[in-house]
Symmetry: C2
Subunit: 311 residues, 2 copies
């Protein structure tokens, strides 16, 4: 008699490069083609794991912002609504690509939904007085950037920055948990979720963007995920990154990761927030977090690629 073992749950947080690669303009054809690389692996993994997919939206929300700023005939919408629009766009692109990849694998039907998600932030979060999250294109000179939001110098060049408060709780967490319990594949928390604050018993949207890795870590914790995987544009975590003595890390204990972070090994603009999200998940759940490239999601889940953080 076959023993019925409950599947473990895997949350994959897809970075922006899952849709738009470096140097690309980001046409719809490019975005669909790029998506097939991670999604094919996730389709295979869905045979072994329950799956949640989250995703970034940096370039897409930046594009919508530029488009609305360039058109006076149409009322401007706050960032919260643009994030919602990107959830629709990217949610559809991921869902339909996954549908196609599942059919390619001969899997006739898996329940699959893409959910609008909003995420509560704290109105007293200090981030509200310190816009810090880069959004949209990189400009060579400060004066080339459009007005409307503050401009900061980043490693890549000048970029507009927006407020980015910490996620407090995912509003749809109970719905997502119910769906996962019934073996639905769930796409959610796009772009870190639509940011809302709670006023009394009601919710109101705010003009901000939440870090998608931190929101994903919060969701992973609230839903009780077993493996939290961040897929990005590098193969994993390294010490002395980019230097002659660069050393790739296959596996770290939480304490080691904390120490490397304190030593300044992980720059705040790139690997830092991913490590923090992974650490946050592991420290709250005691389970496994993995950071890897879009190309190596499946081997990383299997422990053959990427960098893991364990308790």
């Amino acid at each position: 008699m076959e023993e019925k073992v409950e599947k473990q749950t895997l949350l994959v947080a897809l970075g922006g490069n899952a849709l738009i690669r470096k140097g690309e303009q980001g046409t719809v054809e490019q975005q669909f083609k790029n998506l097939s690389v991670p999604i094919r692996q996730i389709a295979r993994l869905s045979q072994v794991y329950k799956i949640i997919i989250t995703h970034g939206n940096g370039p897409q929300v930046g594009n919508l912002l530029l488009q609305q700023e360039g058109c006076d005939a149409v009322p401007k919408l706050p960032l919260e609504i643009l994030v919602a629009q990107t959830q629709g766009q990217i949610g559809y692109m991921i869902e339909s690509t996954l549908d196609n990849q599942l059919m390619d694998l001969g899997i006739h039907y898996t329940p699959l939904v893409s959910l609008i998600s909003y995420v509560v932030v704290d109105e007293n979060d200090p981030a509200f007085s310190d816009p810090s999250k880069p959004i949209g294109p990189v400009y060579r000179r400060k004066k080339d950037a459009p007005s409307g939001y503050p401009i900061k110098k980043t490693a890549k060049g000048y970029r507009r920055v927006v407020v980015s408060p910490k996620p407090v709780t995912i509003v749809e967490k109970r719905e997502i948990k119910k769906l996962i319990d019934q073996n639905f594949i769930v796409i959610c928390c796009g772009g870190g979720g639509i940011p809302v604050i709670r006023e009394g018993r009601a919710f109101f949207g705010v003009d901000a963007v939440i870090d998608k890795d931190l929101a994903s870590a919060k969701l992973a914790e609230e839903v009780g995920v077993d493996i939290f995987l961040i897929a990005t544009d590098v193969p994993g975590v390294a010490l002395n990154y980019g230097k002659a003595d660069q050393q790739f890390l296959r596996s770290m204990a939480l304490k080691e990761a904390e120490q490397y972070l304190r030593e300044g090994q992980f720059p705040s603009g790139s690997m830092g927030p991913k490590i923090e999200a992974a650490m946050q998940f592991v420290s709250h759940s005691g389970k496994r977090a993995v950071i890897t490239s879009i190309e190596e999601i499946q081997p990383a889940v299997e422990g053959k690629a990427g960098s893991e953080i364990r308790r």
Copy 2:
């Protein structure tokens, strides 16, 4: 002992005026304020019925099209993607308004999701060679309308028109049925759904817009809804509409509706497609369809307002 009776399912298809009223510019504040009128009634009805909400997206998708046409810095996206963006935007606005209204009624928790939906159309649909669905603003003169899509004269003035094929099936119908069976409130099929064609076993998006009432009728039929309600900007269906002898119709048998339609009582640009969607649902399911105003959703469900079509 209390008898457990299974709730009936009510599908409410919200017209564009649920978000933007005549003469309004459509700011985000206006859209949220307008939404509270139908959504408050739906929140109350959710105590008695299982609820599915669908919605239009005409002005919103028209705005996104104008914005992207006015901005050369960002790659243009096909209509299918703009529809997906409006599903994100409006799905969020409806979901968060409903969350707030439910809390206002003291209902602590009802599972509530807003789903991305795509809808299969037939690549041989004759609509592909005859763009007919108006989109975006009304122009006084033909030459005022931007290029890119054909322009037609409508009752209101000149408008751009796009291809509008018939819905064949809702891809997420099984997921939506499962969620309704578990008393989830489901928001879906926004803007008639994202149009896709089937090629072999895969799906591909097409540059078109599906009529939201026809898509809603198809969903109502596929999911097994009991009451299909179309909420629009008039109190119901009338004979000799707008004339001295206008006669409001509270209830029609399917055969009567068919006859009035043949007699040309319902203009193709306004009430015609709604009557056809309602008739399609009733003729396939044998159940009740209702056409009413945004303000009278609840009394219309209770048979005290609006116009119904019955078998």
